[in-house]
């Protein structure tokens, strides 16, 4: 029981290595014209936030994992 509790606390204090934003299945962004291409292989959180801010992507394009990235 104590072991499980420790494991659970440890998980909460860890930032996941994956980014906060992940494109939903099948979503590809072309923010700089038809020859541009963003998918999960070249997406970073900075890029995702920028594209949302500039209106070239919508929140609904992403799976946003903000609740998992809490640090103490």
């Amino acid at each position: 029981m104590i072991f499980l509790l420790c494991q659970s606390l440890k998980r909460e204090n860890t930032t996941e290595s994956m980014g906060k934003y992940k494109l939903k299945d099948g979503v590809v962004l072309r923010p700089y014209g038809v020859n541009s291409f963003i998918d999960n292989s070249n997406l970073t959180d900075t890029i995702a936030e920028l594209l949302i801010k500039k209106g070239r992507a919508k929140d609904s394009d992403f799976i946003i994992k903000n609740k998992l990235n809490k640090k103490k």
Partner: protein, 340 residues
């Protein structure tokens, strides 16, 4: 590789001419939009120099040295690349191209196919690929390095927009770092350390027909005054779509006068010529042509193609084009790069 030919047996006559794919022109080569530095096999030295002259009080005694004289070298090596394709002329024996094959079963090579498809479309595609790679090329390593930089507002940092543009649009065939990549990250500085380029960064937005004048205005304002003062005028390098956006902006009855001057195929803004190149959308570069270099061994290599039998005892053939190509940017701190 065999020729993909979905042809029908000719029973009557074939219409002339063959409908060729519509292609852009390689204006970078045809119109000489950048400086061509040829006769470069490897490791060309580009030298930049600057000086500061400081006036000081006269003294009849021992003077103090003041000011600065500096010069540094950048070593540039073009990448050697090639295009290679194999094909079987016999694949066209039942197509319209048989009409231009000489008599004899030995002869299955169509002069019409050579003229239209190989010498026309394929050769032009090579030329366009060279141009596209020159402007947009980026190796996987450089893309990864730029993606790993911390984005920031100062000119010494990579911009978030620049980082997104690199991730989304640069790479092409990933054989070498093209001009936009070189503008953003290079070793062209004293000591040769790789770092963010010294371009003058302008943060932009999504350009459309309604704001295109305002956005060109931002780039114009960022040009250092000394660049406009005398000598060679800089050039705006813009995506092809701006030709249409400019036409739409100018086509407004409420405008007192056209903001963009258009005379035939010549476009300009505030007296600075606009040239259209294969840029990503929302990207504008303003620089003197003499600051942008296409480094190569021989410029005409782009148009030279070798075609022959693969071996003397075989009837299939190959097409081969070899060239060396690279990009270099000089006087970095005088070049304005707008990324929206």
């Amino acid at each position: 590789m065999a020729i993909t030919s979905n042809s029908i047996d000719i029973l009557g006559v074939a219409a002339e001419p063959i409908i060729e794919e519509v292609l852009f022109q390689n204006n970078t080569l045809n119109k000489g939009l950048v400086t061509f530095e040829d006769d470069v096999k490897a490791e060309t030295i580009f030298t930049e120099a600057s000086a500061t002259a400081t006036m000081q009080q006269f003294t009849s005694g021992a003077p103090t040295s003041s000011g600065d004289l500096s010069s540094w070298d950048a070593k540039v090596t073009p990448s050697k690349v090639m295009f290679y394709q194999e094909f079987v002329p016999n694949d066209l024996r039942f197509s319209r191209y048989k009409r231009s094959m000489s008599p004899s079963a030995w002869n299955d090579f169509s002069t019409e196919f050579e003229r239209v498809v190989i010498g026309g479309i394929y050769a032009q595609k090579i030329s366009l690929s060279a141009e596209r790679n020159f402007w947009l090329g980026a190796t996987a390593a450089t893309k990864a390095t730029i993606a790993g930089l911390t984005a920031g507002l100062p000119n010494t940092s990579i911009g978030a927009e620049e980082q997104a543009m690199v991730a989304a649009s640069l790479g092409a065939d990933a054989q070498f770092d093209g001009l936009l990549t070189t503008l953003l990250y290079n070793t062209s500085r004293a000591g040769g350390t790789a770092a963010v380029g010294e371009r003058l960064k302008v943060v932009g937005t999504t350009i459309d027909a309604s704001n295109i004048k305002a956005e060109y205005g931002k780039v114009y304002t960022a040009i250092p005054s000394e660049v406009l003062e005398s000598g060679e005028m800089p050039t705006f390098y813009a995506p092809y779509s701006h030709r249409q956006l400019i036409a739409e902006f100018n086509n407004n009855v409420a405008n007192y006068k056209d903001a963009f001057l258009v005379s035939g195929d010549t476009y300009s803004y505030n007296g600075i010529k606009i040239e259209f190149v294969p840029f990503p959308e929302n990207v504008i570069l303003c620089a003197r042509k003499s600051h942008l270099f296409w480094v190569t061994d021989l410029t005409s290599d782009v148009n030279r193609m070798k075609m022959d039998k693969i071996a003397n005892n075989r009837e299939d053939m190959f097409l081969k084009n070899i060239m060396s190509i690279g990009a270099h940017v000089g006087n970095q701190k005088f070049n304005v790069l707008y990324v929206g």
